[in-house]
């Protein structure tokens, strides 16, 4: 069943600006992951945050997790044209990753040059 819901569905910003995407989910999780998908291609893992973590950084990416609100946000700082893609959050309810992930519907990000 679809658990994650990204917000907004689409986002268009100027190059150099920061982009923020949000994700809400419904059940308890072990971790939450963010993936990027370039047009018509497979997904690429960006970052994982565990349920006992509140914030995590990786390069220009910053992820927050609020388990009390069942929500997460992905911030991309100093955006570049190459960041244009769809971004998906995915939850792993059990840990270990053997049971598959539950994905949201995605945010389509467009970076205007």
């Amino acid at each position: 069943s679809q658990q994650g819901e990204e917000d907004p569905q689409a986002l268009s910003i100027q190059e150099g600006e920061n982009a923020t995407m949000n994700c809400s989910y419904k059940t308890s999780i072990n971790n939450l992951q963010w993936y990027r998908q370039n047009s018509g291609r497979g997904l690429v893992h960006l970052i994982l945050i565990r349920s006992n973590e509140r914030e995590k950084h990786s390069g220009r990416l910053r992820v927050t997790l609020d388990t009390s609100k069942k929500s997460s946000s992905l911030l991309i700082t100093a955006s570049r044209a190459a960041d244009t893609a769809s971004y998906f959050c995915a939850t792993d309810p059990s840990g270990g990753g053997a049971d598959g992930l539950t994905f949201g519907k995605g945010t389509h990000l467009i970076i205007q040059p």
Partner: protein
């Protein structure tokens, strides 16, 4: 470099045909997954497998079956293709064990059923 490959990028089949989608990973991963992706619905899990000859139903298994005869290969089978199975199909894998396991995806197969 880790790699998941899928047999076709684009596939066109007729209603009622039996369709095989193949996925191969070269990372010696135990777990393999099949998802379908549709506009406005995101990715939905069809089947997964955590070992050779093992399979588990995901959220939308109806109309599909799978085969895992070798560790590196996971096949998705559409027994009798229907137009509502027109979709992008994505295969993924990850290793067993550990607590934080990202999934590695193939490039996808865009299937059209006419």
């Amino acid at each position: 470099d880790v790699k998941v490959t899928q047999s076709s990028r684009y596939l066109v089949k007729r209603t009622g045909e039996k369709v095989f989608l193949e996925c191969v990973q070269d990372m010696d991963h135990e777990n393999m997954f099949w998802y379908r992706q549709d506009p406005g619905l995101g990715l939905r899990l069809i089947y997964f497998s955590y070992d050779v000859k093992m399979k588990e139903k995901g959220d939308i298994p109806e109309g599909y079956s799978v085969s895992r005869e070798k560790k590196e290969r996971f096949s998705l089978i559409l027994e009798s293709a229907s137009t509502n199975q027109t979709s992008m199909y994505l295969c993924a894998s990850n290793p067993a064990g550990g607590w934080d396991n990202e999934q590695f995806f193939g490039p996808g197969t865009r299937l059209t059923v006419l």
